[in-house]
Symmetry: C2
Subunit: 342 residues, 2 copies
DNA sequence: CCGGCATGCAGAAACGTCACAGCTCATGGC
DNA sequence: GCCATGAGCTGTGACGTTTCTGCATGCCGG
């Protein structure tokens, strides 16, 4: 390449990177020759030399053997889309690397930093990354004392309080909760916010907990909740499938939604807009989270922003549909496919 | 590192890679020291030296400004999941790189090969990659004469014929088609298969075409199709949203599904299982495609398999639901969340 | 005519790895 | 006693960049 253009290697590098003291004529000439030869600087060599790969990891902590947790797939898909978008906009590419993947894959790719979704208590991979000085930003408060560089999470307490207030305003007298048995932060914060709210308004808590990763336990728990003697007249489900679970359980008990039972669940599923009746959902706005996480990560990589760990709490969106309104505002036919705005 | 273990650089390399002539004692010693120091061989240096990065690209040809096409999102999500899985199983990591992304991102990452989803006629990026000798495998027959190393696609003709036969068997007398105006292979093959079938059985073709990337045109086209004087009594929609579009249009014209109108559409949406009535869909089995594409790509990278271009045609799956059966087999309550197999 | 100073470029080192050739000892056969 | 053999290790590039230093050259003021 350098020979073809009749200049030195240094000049080629300078011309292509816009550095050094070169007259425009030389720069143009070098670029023109490079173009003609189809020459591309070697990414590997550049990475070796500069210590920057332009790659950031997207790590999913997996429970099963599959690389993605399907329970939160709609969340993950949207989050990954936004993260990819944000990374590309700043000149980085995203590599999907489940925490459970073979060790050799991890050590074979040079990462400038990584995003960790929902890190578990003492994830060995994350700890390893941090020890190597690679910036790590997590989606979700890091459990344990994982020393991540920054994290982004939703304001789960505020979200739960908002929903409970909304249900109470719609006429609910006794609000139940469908929650999980695991000790992750999301479940813990949400449940404790529920209990606090109950205490504040003087309602006896009514809840059922089940192992959230078990795809069948949810339906059983929903059934249990509606079978109780102190059956609630409104339920909030913390997990994505709870909406359909609760709807099915309500049908089995002959309960009409929303007349006999108000329903809200936390989910990104678009399908909840078209169930019978449409179910109100709490959106965690995964797109916003994904973008924020990547911005923080790249800031950390590039050394801009504060040297301190940053934590960013993002609001959620309560999408009110027929299932949580006693007097639904005339059921109009919704226009075909209104693109979801963000 | 070499100094810490009291051996030479070469010995470290050999010990860690299981090469050379070293007694087990030395190997163990080196590994132990490496472990203690938290030493990891530099991926960048290895890539530079060996010419292999262990990275493969997943390229989406985009139409709009966003990195993913939302119209086929369920397809893409599942395909990407399977592809990631397959790549990891063989020690490769996946990088998501929209064809439209900034040029500097493309040149900043060393790819051993790349998967292209639905390459457009003369994609400059793909052509560029091939010219550089990087293996490219495409999901979908490459349009034009893009010189990819291999491709995988569904058997679209067979799929259409299967659906039309199914609808005819269910009692349809005049089957309509909702198709696209673009010239991509999927649309072309499917439409011509429809026309051929019509000719064979002696039915006058009844179809409407619309620009598939326009999120609103579909509803209009569905309406147009059902407003025709020669209104079909069954419709197959080639695109993901057609199911709901057609269902809405049918309601507007007071047509009952499946009694007055049989419906099938091509989609991966799980939501079609719970519409009223549930809509029969043609699944392209994106998981299978993603896996196959990655296997072919890695084979090409590693030089196994034939040196010739390979083309692999995969079967589709017709999921028959109430919308395409005149006599639905008693509407049972489906069990809660049956995990999709495959 | 000479020192100072830009300008335009080239040389060389370094990044960390791997492949190859080679070097130094024992050991053993004859 | 000496060569052949092989085991166990080391030294030396080379991969293709970037970056730092430095060499010419030309121009200017004095």
């Amino acid at each position: 390449m350098a020979a073809a253009a009749g200049v030195s290697i240094t000049t080629v590098s300078d011309a292509l990177n816009g550095k050094g003291r070169l007259p425009d004529a030389t720069r143009r000439h070098v670029r023109e020759v490079a173009n003609r030869l189809g020459y591309r600087p070697s990414a590997a060599a550049r990475t070796l030399r500069t210590g920057r790969s332009g790659l950031i990891g997207l790590t999913v902590t997996t429970y099963g053997e599959e690389p993605f947790t399907f329970t939160e797939f709609a969340y993950f898909a949207e989050m990954a889309r936004a993260a990819t978008s944000a990374a590309l906009a700043r000149g980085y590419a995203l590599v999907i690397l489940p925490a459970s993947s073979r060790h050799d894959v991890w050590s074979n790719v040079a990462l400038d930093g990584t995003v960790v979704i929902d890190p578990s208590d003492h994830d060995p991979v994350v700890a390893d990354l941090v020890r190597q000085g690679i910036p790590v930003v997590s989606d979700g408060r890091p459990a344990g004392n994982l020393p991540v560089h920054a994290w982004v999470d939703n304001d789960h307490e505020q979200a739960v309080i908002g929903i409970l207030d909304h249900l109470a305003a719609a006429g609910a007298r006794r609000i139940g909760l469908l929650t999980g048995t695991s000790t992750d932060t999301y479940t813990r914060l949400s449940t404790s916010a529920y209990l606090t709210w109950c205490e504040r308004v003087g309602q006896e808590p009514v809840y059922e907990a089940y192992p959230a990763h078990d795809p069948c336990a949810g339906a059983v728990a929903a059934d249990r909740l509606l079978a109780r003697p102190d059956r609630p007249d409104a339920v909030y489900g913390l997990f994505d499938p709870n909406g359909t679970d609760l709807l099915a359980a309500a049908r089995r008990y002959g309960l009409r939604v929303p007349d006999d039972l108000l329903l809200v669940c936390c989910s990104e599923r678009a399908a909840y807009a078209t169930t019978e009746p449409p179910i109100s959902t709490l959106s965690l706005k995964p797109g916003r989270i994904g973008t924020a996480v990547v911005q923080l990560l790249i800031d950390a990589i590039e050394g801009v922003g504060p040297g301190q760990p940053v934590s960013q709490v993002m609001p959620t969106d309560l999408i009110v549909r027929a299932s949580s309104q006693r007097r639904p505002p005339r059921t109009t036919v919704s226009p075909p496919r209104t693109p979801e705005e963000d």
